[in-house]
């Protein structure tokens, strides 16, 4: 008990229970997936900032463009899979899902291959970027593997379609316990389960039951449950009410994007996908923006903040906070803000500014 308190006083913030405490001299290798469109430039920006902050991280860039497997299916190249399995941590830029035959959504494929069961999106108001909402500070944790996105659909008869929403006890329990562990590890006060059990009594009821059982294991965290529509209603009026939100897939998708909208959009929102056995892939959730690719106009904030989240997950929280602070300083200053946030700086100017603030 005492050793636990001591450890928590001196340890940096971690998300996963597995993984050992690192000494700062150890250089960790992280898989980098630059992505498409503006992906390569923002990945380069992040690498530059990391090197000027002297973060002990080595990058291993891989390409996840699907290749044809011997059996004819389109799969992620084995090299990429091996890399992530070895390094356990990845940083991903925006991927373009090719339209048309044969390609599964790449994001979906990554999620399935590495069993990424929880999507974490911390939403915090950015000081430099004014939105109608200040003081937003919440985290949405979304079940990432099942629910409404199971992709099981059938045409019963012509004109009648059914889509199956799958909720399992295993997955619900996993994400509920993760939510509470995250809350404890990051000093959050309460966890709210978001559901629609008045209508979907069995499925959301099962999810709620798992959340309740997980809550009993973590009595120091306050737990309550709220209907999805009530959460939306209050979120738009007073986002300060909420702390950590945990929910099934579809509600999580919508609510996490709603919260991203509160703080300024997908261009400034970090996101992390946590898998089992300590694996995690952090990503920027915006699109590939092919219209501004290669023109040095992109805003690397989302990828940068996701990378900071990654550092916190790896136990390198001090570096993460330093870079985060530098990024917020750069956004606060109108001269160094990128165009999408209302400033005039280019991507490289913003990157240089962050490097300056880091030192």
């Amino acid at each position: 008990m005492a050793s636990r308190i001591l450890k928590s006083l001196f340890a940096t913030v971690k998300i996963s229970k597995t993984g050992t405490q690192l000494y700062s001299q150890d250089v960790r290798t992280v898989t980098l997936i630059p992505g498409d469109g503006i992906g390569p430039e923002i990945s380069a920006a992040v690498q530059k900032i990391f090197s000027s902050a002297k973060v002990p991280v080595e990058w291993e860039a891989v390409d996840v463009t699907p290749v044809k497997a011997p059996d004819g299916r389109m799969v992620i190249p084995q090299k990429a899979i091996d890399s992530v399995n070895k390094n356990k941590i990845g940083l991903k830029g925006p991927l373009a899902t090719p339209v048309g035959k044969g390609h599964q959504s790449l994001n979906l494929a990554l999620r399935k291959t590495f069993n990424l069961y929880a999507n974490v999106r911390p939403c915090r108001s950015i000081e430099g970027y004014k939105t109608p909402y200040d003081d937003v500070d919440l985290v949405t944790i979304r079940e990432n593997t099942e629910g409404e996105y199971s992709g099981i659909e059938h045409v019963i008869v012509d004109g009648v379609v059914q889509s199956i929403k799958l909720i399992t006890e295993v997955a619900s329990r996993r994400v509920a316990e993760f939510a509470f562990r995250y809350a404890v590890a990051n000093n959050r006060k309460s966890v709210t389960a978001v559901h629609k059990a008045n209508i979907m009594r069995m499925s959301d009821g099962l999810f709620l039951q798992c959340c309740r059982e997980a809550a009993e294991k973590f009595p120091e965290v306050q737990f309550d449950e709220m209907y999805l529509d009530t959460v939306c209603l209050h979120m738009v009026q007073d986002p300060k009410k909420y702390d950590v939100l945990v929910m099934p897939n579809l509600y999580g998708d919508i609510l996490s994007d709603l919260c991203a909208g509160l703080i300024g959009g997908l261009g400034v929102t970090p996101s992390g996908n946590i898998g089992e056995n300590g694996a995690a892939i952090f990503e920027s959730v915006h699109g590939t923006a092919p219209d501004i690719a290669g023109q040095d106009k992109a805003n690397p904030t989302a990828l940068l903040l996701s990378a900071c989240m990654m550092l916190k997950h790896m136990g390198l929280g001090t570096y993460g906070s330093k870079i985060e602070k530098a990024a917020f300083e750069a956004i606060k200053n109108k001269e160094t803000r990128t165009a999408d946030l209302g400033g005039k700086a280019t991507c490289s100017q913003f990157t240089d500014a962050v490097c300056r603030y880091v030192d």
């Binding site: 939105t131 109608p132 909402y133 409404e148 996105y149 992709g151 659909e153 059938h154 045409v155 012509d158 004109g159 009648v160 379609v161 059914q162 889509s163 199956i164 929403k165 799958l166 909720i167 399992t168 006890e169 295993v170 629609k196 059990a197 008045n198 209508i199 979907m200 009594r201 069995m202 499925s203 009821g205 099962l206 999805l228 529509d229 009530t230 939306c232 209603l233 209050h234 979120m235 738009v236 009026q237 579809l250 998708d253 919508i254 609510l255 996490s256 994007d257 709603l258 991203a260 909208g261 509160l262 300024g264 959009g265 997908l266």
Partner: protein, 396 residues
């Protein structure tokens, strides 16, 4: 100065002419009179908008009143009071459907009463989702009466301080199917499947309603909200149906948007939206966001319209359990539901008097209950509204 201010409010309030602000009826639409090319423009305007198909006894309508739980009973009492002061020719038939009266027979009586009177005003019935085998009675009522369209008009009211101004969104939500089919089963212990059913018939019906509404009310744009990139068959069919319907209304702009992007846009730039049509669950989310953009659950009414029946209620369907009996609930939403009820019955003049009084109370006199940041009680607000109604009635 006060006269000028009230004139400005009048202009803001009566932006279009009187008829355009009533609820669109559906019978003519569904009987196919709009599927033919526009040959008979000289249609009786009153017949278009007064859709009540029930009987009138001695010039008075009978409306089923289902008070429900929480703040329902007190607000229903206030509506009856305001109706009395405004001399609205409506008699209420009280039906008890709430947490104390939750047997199947109670529900059957309620359904029969609404079928008898064709129209109802309703509070929200609490759903005890912990009780096994219990299906929401609000849902069962809507489905038994086939009230396929839920229409919620979210309008910014001057005088209510919100983060966004100039919001004027109509959310039209499919009300009977989709995720709310209550078809669930447990195949294997620990694995639950819930079915979401989308049919082309219902999608066509709601799309037709939405586009007709937009045309009749002089709106410019219809946005279909969906998640067809993931649910390709179900939401894909809904989206295709909307697109096909849009082809019949070339004067209206049609666009579609994925639901998570819609939510993001709603909290950053809600002024871009006009009429929005969507399946059931997304409608739940978007309507709640819309209501809170304009000031919260206390201000907006919701109409559930079917081809033969209609039920009017508060837009966000809350029981308000935590503030029941404390005299702090905002009566505006329930009173606005009463206003929509009057329009549906063809009592446009009464509707305008009550609506104007509500708006004047909120915007000019700023009698605000705690949910709007004020300190007034429910009774204060109702008193202010009835005073204005009385003044208006003297002019008749």
């Amino acid at each position: 100065m006060a006269a000028y201010r009230s004139l400005r409010l009048e202009k803001y309030f009566f932006r279009n002419n009187l008829n355009k602000r009533s609820i669109l009826g559906t019978s003519a639409v569904l009987r196919g009179s709009y599927s033919q090319p526009k040959q008979n423009e000289a249609v009786d305007q009153r017949r278009q908008f007064s859709r009540h198909t029930g009987a009138k006894y001695g010039g008075r309508y009978t409306v089923t009143a289902i008070a429900g739980d929480g703040i329902g009973p007190e607000l229903m009492g206030h509506v009856k009071h305001v109706f009395k002061v405004a001399d609205v020719p409506v008699d209420f038939e009280d039906i008890y459907l709430d947490s104390a009266h939750d047997a199947d027979t109670d529900l059957a009586h309620a359904v029969l009463a609404v079928k008898r009177n064709r129209v109802a005003l309703k509070g929200n019935v609490e759903t005890k989702h912990l009780k096994p085998g219990f299906v929401s009675h609000n849902l069962l009522l809507r489905v038994s009466l086939d009230l396929f369209a839920n229409v919620i008009h979210c309008r910014s009211i001057p005088g209510v301080s919100t983060r966004h101004g100039d919001v004027d969104i109509v959310v039209i939500r499919e009300n009977t199917e989709g995720e709310y089919k209550s078809l669930e089963h447990e195949n294997v212990p620990g694995v639950v499947e819930s079915l979401k059913v989308i049919t082309r018939e219902s999608s066509k019906r709601i799309a037709r309603y939405a586009f007709e509404y937009a045309r009749q009310q002089g709106r410019k744009k219809v946005t279909a909200v969906h998640k067809a990139n993931i649910m390709k068959l179900s939401d894909g069919m809904f989206l295709d149906t909307c697109r096909q319907m849009a082809a019949e209304y070339p004067e209206l702009k049609f666009e579609d948007m994925i639901v998570d992007n819609t939510c993001m846009q709603l909290v950053s730039r809600p002024q871009q939206f006009d009429v929005m049509v969507m399946p059931n669950l997304y409608g739940n989310i978007v309507s709640n966001i819309g209501c809170s953009l304009v000031g919260g659950p206390g201000l907006t009414a919701g109409s559930n319209i079917g081809s033969d029946f209609a039920i009017f209620e508060m837009g966000t369907r809350n029981t308000g359990k935590s503030i029941a009996g404390e005299n702090i609930a905002n009566p505006s939403a329930m009173l606005m539901a009463g206003v929509e009820l009057c329009r549906y019955l063809g009592l446009a003049r009464h509707a305008d008097v009550i609506e104007k009084s509500i708006w004047r109370t909120i915007s000019e006199d700023k009698v605000h209950t705690p949910d709007l940041g004020g300190t007034a009680t429910t009774s204060d607000v109702v008193h202010s509204i009835t005073q204005k109604v009385q003044n208006e009635m003297r002019k008749w």
